[in-house]
Symmetry: D2
Subunit: 249 residues, 4 copies
C-alpha cells in the first residue's frame, strides 16, 4: 500500500498508561491499521484515549433503557450488561441534570401496552420472537433508576432502531439549539448505532461514553463501537465525558 | 411456543452441508446463541442458509463502487476486497438488467471534482485523512466494470453514509413501486450498513448478497453482516439471490 | 408571451355542463391563464373536470378530523365547514372500507390530554391562542362519525402540519405497497396541504375530493385547492373519486 | 385570557399609518377575522406590521431564482414579478453578506442541462408543459445578479418544491448552528411555501421579506403569504427584515 504516515509501530490505540477501549481485546491489529491507513479515526496518538472533539451545546439522548431491554426476565433483556449500563447512565444523568443540559429518552411506543399492527412492526427478522411471560408488566417502560423528570421528553420510535427515523427528534434538537449529542443506552449494535449514525448525518457532533451502552452480543458491542469511533463519533470513558461536559459549563 | 432456549447443540447457523456465512469463523457461538434466544434471526434451522423472505418487486442499489473505494491506489481504497466485489456485482448487475428490475447507484457527489465545504463534509472522524496522489484522476467515479447504463440513476449522498439521508432515493423507490431492495457495494460497515438500515426503516425488505459487499476491516465486515442478518435483512450467497430474483420473474 | 397552445378562449376550467371547482368564483381568469400558459394544470379541456390520473393501489389519509377542528365549541373549530366535511368523509370512508383499501388517520398526539413542551409546540404564530373552555372534553379526538376501526392506524403528528413530518407515515405506505393517496380532512390550507405536498414529494399520486376538505378561511381553502390542482394533485368531486376507486377494484 | 373575540372594528392588519401587507386588497375581512378568532397570527395590534419574532443566528435561503423562473423568455418565467424580486433579493443579499450570515441557494439540478428520468420528474401535474425555445441557454441557472459567491452553497432539489425534501439542507443548517431562516425567491405558492413550511417543521424560525418573493399568480402569492403569516412565519417588509438583521449583529 505504500502507507508511510500514521502510527508508530506497536502503539495501536492503547498504550502503557493502561487506557483501554472496549474493543481492544477483540479487534485484530491489522484491521485497526487498515482504518488508520485510510485516514479514519482522527489523530490517535496511540498511548491515550482520543480527546473529545465536539460542540458547545450538548444534549443527552438515552436510547431504549426499558425493562424489556435491561432486565433478563424479558426475552429481549440483558441483565448482565443492561443493569451495569443503568448504573452508568444514572451517574451521567445526574451530571447532565445538574449542568442543565437537555435530556431526551427514546422508547418504542407512547403506550407500553401497544399492540402494533404488522405495518408498524415492519420488516424485523424476528418471526420466532418469544413473547414475554404474560405475568410480567409491560416492558416498554423506562427503568425506574432512569425515569424521566418533568420537562425531559420521551421520543417514541414506532419499532424502528433510529431515534430520528419517523420521529420529531431532529426538530426538538433544533428547537433546543443543540449542536452535540451524547448517545447512550441499548443496544449498541442496534438502536444506539442507528441513532448515532443519524445524529452524525444531521451534522451533530456525537459522543458515546462506552460504559453507558450495552448489547446482548459482546462482539457486536465492541465492533460497533470501533466502527463509530473510526468514522462518526467520539467513543470515550464516562469519566472523560463528564469532565468534558463540566468544562463546557 | 415450545421454545426452550437456544439452538440444538452443534448446529449454529452452518451445518454439515457446508453452508458458510462470512461471520462463521469470527463470532463466538455464545453471541449467536444470545441473539437466537432473544428471538432475533428468524427461523434458523441451523444446517442451511436461511431462506430469503422478501417482496416481489425488487430493485438493486449499488453503493459507492467508485475508484476511491475499490482501488488500492486511493488511500480509502481496498483492492484486496474491492475488486472481487466488483466481479460479484458485475455478475449480479447482468442478471438484474436481464430481468428488467430497476438499478440505482450511489456515490458522493454529482461532480467528482467537487471540493466540498466544511458543512458538506460534516463531522467525519477523519481529520488526518491522506489526500490521494494528485496525479490520479478523480476517485468519486463508479468503476468501468459497473458503469451505469442509460436510465439507471446515480444518487449522490453529499458525504453521508446512507443512500437515503438527504437524497431522493426513497421517492425514487416509491415511484418505481419497489418493495424490496438488494443492497451491495462498499463498505459493509459504513455506507452499505447505513443504507440497508434506512431501507429497513422505510419498510422495504432488504437482501444482501455477501460476495457483493466489501470492507477494509474483516472483523467489521463480518460483524456488520451478522447484525444485519439477525435484525434487518437477509444476508445470503449471491447464487441464492440470483435464484430468488429469477423465481420472481 | 406568445402563448398559442392551451385552452379555447373563454372556457377556463369549467364549462357549460356546469362542472364547478371550488375556486371558480374566487380566482381571476388571468391567474389561471398564467398557470396554463406555463404548462401547469395538465390537460384541461375546459368544459369538464380533469380526469383523475393516478396509480392502482390507493389508500385514504384522513387528516385531523378531530373535535378541536370540526366543532365550533373549540376555538380552532369550524362547525360551518367542518361538519359538512365530516359527512362527506363518512361517505368516502364507507366506500374505501367496502373496497378494502388501507385507511390512516392523523391527529396531533396519542394522548389527547397531552400537555406539550415548548419544543414540541414549535414555532407556531399563535402566541395569543385562546384555550378551549375547560369544561369541554379533550379536543384532539377524532369525531365519532369517523372513528377508526380496528386495523386502521392513527398517525400522530406532534404539532406539525404534515402527516409525514416526524412520523412513520411514509414507512406505513411503503409497507402497504400504496402508490396513491386520497387526502382529506382539515384544514385545507394547513395540514391537508402540507400532507398532500409531502405525499407528492415522495412520488405518491395524490387525489383530493374537494367536499372532504375544509378550512376556516374560504379564500385560503379555494386558493390552496387551486395550487394543489395546478401542480401536485388531482382535486376532484367526491363522486368522481368514488367512481375512480370502484373502477380500480 | 381577556380575549373577547375578534379585532377592534376597522383595524384589520393595516391601519392609518399606511402599513400594507400584500394580501390586504385580496382577503375578505371575514377570513382574517376567523383566523384571529382562532388565535392564529400572533398579537396583531392592527395598526402596524407585526414585529419579527425569531432567533439570533439567521441564514438566508434564496429559492430557485433561476432564469427559468425569473425570465419571461422561459415558459415557466415571470418577468413582471421575477425581475423586481431579483432587485429586492440583490439588496438583501448585499446586507446578509456584509453581516456575514450564511447564504444558501436552491435550484433543481447540479447540472442545468440535466435530462431527468420520469422517476426524477415525479408526479407534477404538468403533462402539457411547453419546452423552452431550443435556442435559449439552460434555464436552471441562478441569475447573474444573485450569483453565489465562493462558500455559498447551492442545494439541488431534484424537481421537488421544498428545499429540504431529499436534500442536505437541514444538515447544513445544523452544521452552521442556524436557528432562523430568511426564505426568499420563487414561487411564493410553490417552492417558497414548501421550503418555509419544512423550515417551520424543523423548528427554525422563518422570516419572509415579501418584496423578495414572487409568483405567477397574484392571488396565490397573496393567499400563501397570508397562510404563512397566520401560522408559520413572519412575513414582513424588506426594510424591517434588514433592520432586524442589523439589530442582531
Amino acid at each position: 500500500m505504500g502507507f508511510s504516515g500514521g502510527l508508530p509501530a506497536g502503539r495501536l490505540l492503547v498504550g502503557d498508561t493502561g487506557a483501554v477501549y472496549p474493543w481492544n481485546d477483540a479487534i485484530p491489529p491489522d484491521d485497526i491499521a487498515r482504518y488508520l491507513a485510510a485516514g479514519y479515526g482522527d489523530s490517535f496518538s496511540g498511548d491515550e484515549f482520543r480527546a473529545i472533539s465536539a460542540g458547545t451545546s450538548p444534549a443527552l439522548i438515552v436510547v431504549d433503557m426499558t425493562l424489556a431491554f435491561v432486565d433478563g426476565r424479558w426475552p429481549t433483556g440483558h441483565s448482565q450488561t443492561g443493569w451495569p449500563a443503568v448504573d452508568a447512565n444514572a451517574r451521567l444523568l445526574a451530571e447532565v441534570r445538574r449542568l442543565g443540559y437537555p435530556v431526551y429518552f427514546t422508547k418504542m411506543y407512547e403506550d407500553p401496552t401497544h399492540s402494533a399492527a404488522p405495518s408498524q412492526k415492519g420488516r424485523w427478522k424476528t418471526v420466532g420472537r418469544r413473547l414475554p411471560d404474560p405475568d410480567l408488566p409491560p416492558g416498554d417502560v423506562i427503568v425506574d433508576e432512569l425515569a424521566p423528570k418533568p420537562g425531559e421528553l420521551v421520543v417514541c420510535k414506532h419499532h424502528k432502531p433510529s431515534g430520528f427515523f419517523g420521529t420529531e427528534l431532529a426538530a426538538l434538537l433544533v428547537y433546543d439549539k443543540v449542536d452535540t449529542v451524547v448517545v447512550t443506552g441499548m443496544t449498541t449494535s442496534g438502536c444506539v448505532r442507528a441513532t448515532a449514525v443519524d445524529a452524525f448525518q444531521y451534522n451533530f457532533d456525537v459522543v458515546i461514553p462506552f460504559e453507558c451502552v450495552a448489547d446482548r452480543s459482546q462482539i457486536s458491542h465492541k465492533v460497533n463501537l470501533l466502527d463509530l469511533h473510526m468514522k462518526y463519533a467520539d467513543v470515550a470513558p464516562l469519566d472523560h465525558v463528564i469532565d468534558w461536559l463540566n468544562s463546557l459549563h
